[in-house]
């Protein structure tokens, strides 16, 4: 083989290595190694509460806390539970997939809602005077209504506020 041919061959190999390294390096630098779905948070870890600016925001955080609490109880992700509660078919699939019956689900959702009340109270987003009757109510109601509350926390918090809010304001004025 001639020297020229050998040089041509070497140049081709070096060029190939350079082109490959440049491409892979550029893609890695652009985030190619981390381009994957974001990992969901462990529901048993506390989720930070921000200061809610509206009832809708309060309801949003309340729902997330409730879902976290219930998911932690059941050992599933908050997201899987949320999908289960979104539709009746979702609930059926959830039962089949995780082997969780309605009794266990009721217990977990109740625990989740109670955790949400605790979290809201701790964050100063819910008055202790409103929190106490809310806890008592949550202890009594059946599964379908519990799911409705998780799905429509704004309605629940709105109702509680409109029924008990004025009384709470009055009490808070007299309490030390």
């Amino acid at each position: 083989m001639s020297g020229e041919s050998r040089l041509g061959g070497r140049l081709l190999i070096v060029g190939s290595i350079l082109a490959s390294v440049l491409l892979v390096g550029a893609y890695l630098a652009a985030g190619g190694s981390t381009y994957e779905p974001e990992q969901v948070q462990d529901p048993c870890q506390p989720r930070e509460w921000s200061d809610p600016q509206s009832l809708a925001q309060l309801a949003n955080q309340f729902t997330n806390s409730a879902l976290d609490g219930a998911a932690c109880e059941l050992g599933v992700s908050r997201e899987a539970l949320a999908r289960a509660l979104a539709t009746e078919e979702g609930r059926e699939r959830f039962r089949e997939r995780y082997g969780i019956d309605d009794e266990r689900l009721t217990k977990a959702i109740r625990a989740g809602l109670l955790r949400a009340v605790d979290d809201a109270e701790e964050a100063g987003a819910l008055s202790p005077i409103l929190a106490t009757p809310l806890r008592a109510t949550l202890q009594q109601i059946p599964l379908d209504q519990l799911i409705e509350i998780v799905n429509d926390a704004e309605g629940l918090l709105g109702d509680v506020d409109s029924f008990l809010g004025p009384a709470a304001d009055l009490l808070e004025e007299f309490l030390p």
């Binding site: 083989m1 041919s5 061959g9 190939s16 082109a19 994957e36 997330n64 997201e79």
Partner: protein
């Protein structure tokens, strides 16, 4: 094809290349017609197997016929090898066009006139062989196949299979492109293969071309494994590398496997056997990996997408409506990346809410795109590794100057 190539080459040597090629093309055309008309999977599989027999017979016999047309065995080997490399690169693109423009059956039906047209000029040679009936006995002696070149061909073919097959799958199943759009995208590979073919003319050393080709194929596959975004444009540079690489490595290794060896048809048969065995092994090894990855990534993407909805600041009642619809879409399309657009229709009339929902849709789509793209990463990376491992047999292959 992997099993039929060498016996077909032996048959071609026994009955004469002209007769074997015409017979092979006739079988190929007939089986192609059966494939195109088949209504059941079992019939299609049987017809495809018969087509492989015909194809193997025609392709190996062609290698015996070529020297008479092009002047020398060396030139014949180069043309035959280049044709094989170009065909490998061109297949998915052409297949995609016909699948969408006409039907999948049209791919097979189109092969019928093409194969018959190819048989016409060979008929004269076949007639001459039938009249003379002379097959020189000394030509029946067969040397040992080139182990290292054939081994490298098998490994590189497994890697190239990943580039051709998995990329099409990513585009259609992952990014939801239509077959014709996917065909257009993967056309970058055969175009680059043409450039690679021209590049080969400047470097006579087959081993250097094979090594450079294997490196480029691996580099391109690694690029596909580390795509930083689900964008068609970003698939083009890796495709260029794979296209140039496959053209260099397949032709160089085929030339090396054939170089100085006789009879050409038998050794050509070994190269076809190695290439197809590589494709089968690659499919067997990578299919369970990417199937499991797709399911895992689908679940991760759905979880991440749900998290996006739950954490968004969209009005809770509106969010609930979207969540219900998205949940139905996500769970409904098992094994596939779901289409989420219908879940967001109609968009709210309020401009602020509309913007928030559009943002939510975009974030959700991003998570699904991430999942679909990442699902293929491990398989692309393993294929890239296989391409790099092929450098060992390439280094061990005896230097042959062609």
């Amino acid at each position: 094809m992997a099993l039929a190539a060498v016996p077909s080459a032996l048959l071609a040597r026994r009955v004469g290349p002209g007769r074997a090629a015409s017979m092979g093309l006739a079988i190929f055309a007939g089986a192609g017609l059966a494939c195109g008309l088949s209504e059941e999977l079992s019939t299609l599989i049987v017809a495809r197997c018969v087509q492989a027999l015909g194809g193997a017979l025609a392709v190996t016999a062609a290698l015996e016929l070529l020297p008479a047309s092009v002047g020398s065995e060396r030139r014949a080997a180069t043309i035959w090898a280049a044709a094989g490399a170009t065909g490998a690169a061109l297949g998915p693109a052409v297949g995609g066009f016909f699948t969408e423009l006409v039907s999948w059956q049209s791919i097979f039906l189109l092969q019928v006139p093409v194969a018959l047209a190819a048989a016409v000029p060979i008929l004269a040679v076949a007639k001459h062989e039938a009249a003379t009936g002379v097959i020189e006995p000394e030509l029946r002696r067969t040397g040992r196949p080139h182990l290292w070149a054939n081994l490298a061909l098998a490994m590189v073919s497994a890697a190239i299979m990943a580039a051709l097959f998995l990329l099409v799958l990513l585009l259609i199943e992952g990014w939801r492109l239509s077959p014709i759009e996917a065909a257009l995208v993967v056309s970058a590979m055969p175009l680059a293969a043409i450039v690679g073919g021209k590049l080969a003319d400047f470097v006579p050393d087959a081993r250097s071309r094979a090594a450079a080709g294997a490196i480029l194929v691996s580099g391109g596959l690694a690029g596909l494994a580390f795509l930083p975004k689900a964008t068609i444009l970003l698939t083009l540079p890796p495709q260029v590398l794979v296209g140039v690489g496959l053209s260099l490595v397949l032709s160089a290794l085929t030339e090396t496997a054939l170089g100085g060896r006789a009879p050409q048809a038998i050794h050509g048969g070994w190269t076809i056997s190695s290439r197809h065995a590589g494709v089968v092994i690659g499919l067997l090894a990578l299919t369970p990996i990417f199937t499991a990855d797709i399911e895992q990534q689908r679940r991760d993407a759905i979880d991440a997408g749900t998290a996006v909805i739950l954490d968004s600041t969209v009005n809770p009642l509106l969010k609930l409506d979207v969540a219900e619809k998205v949940s139905g879409q996500l769970e409904g399309e098992r094994g596939k990346v779901p289409v989420i657009d219908p879940a967001f229709e109609p968009l709210p009339e309020d401009p602020a809410e509309r913007a928030e929902v559009a943002q939510l849709q975009s974030e959700l789509q991003d998570q699904l795109d991430r999942g679909a793209t990442h699902a293929f990463s491990t398989s692309f990376l393993l294929a890239a590794l296989l391409g790099l491992i092929a450098l060992f047999p390439i280094a061990l292959a005896r230097r042959v100057d062609l």
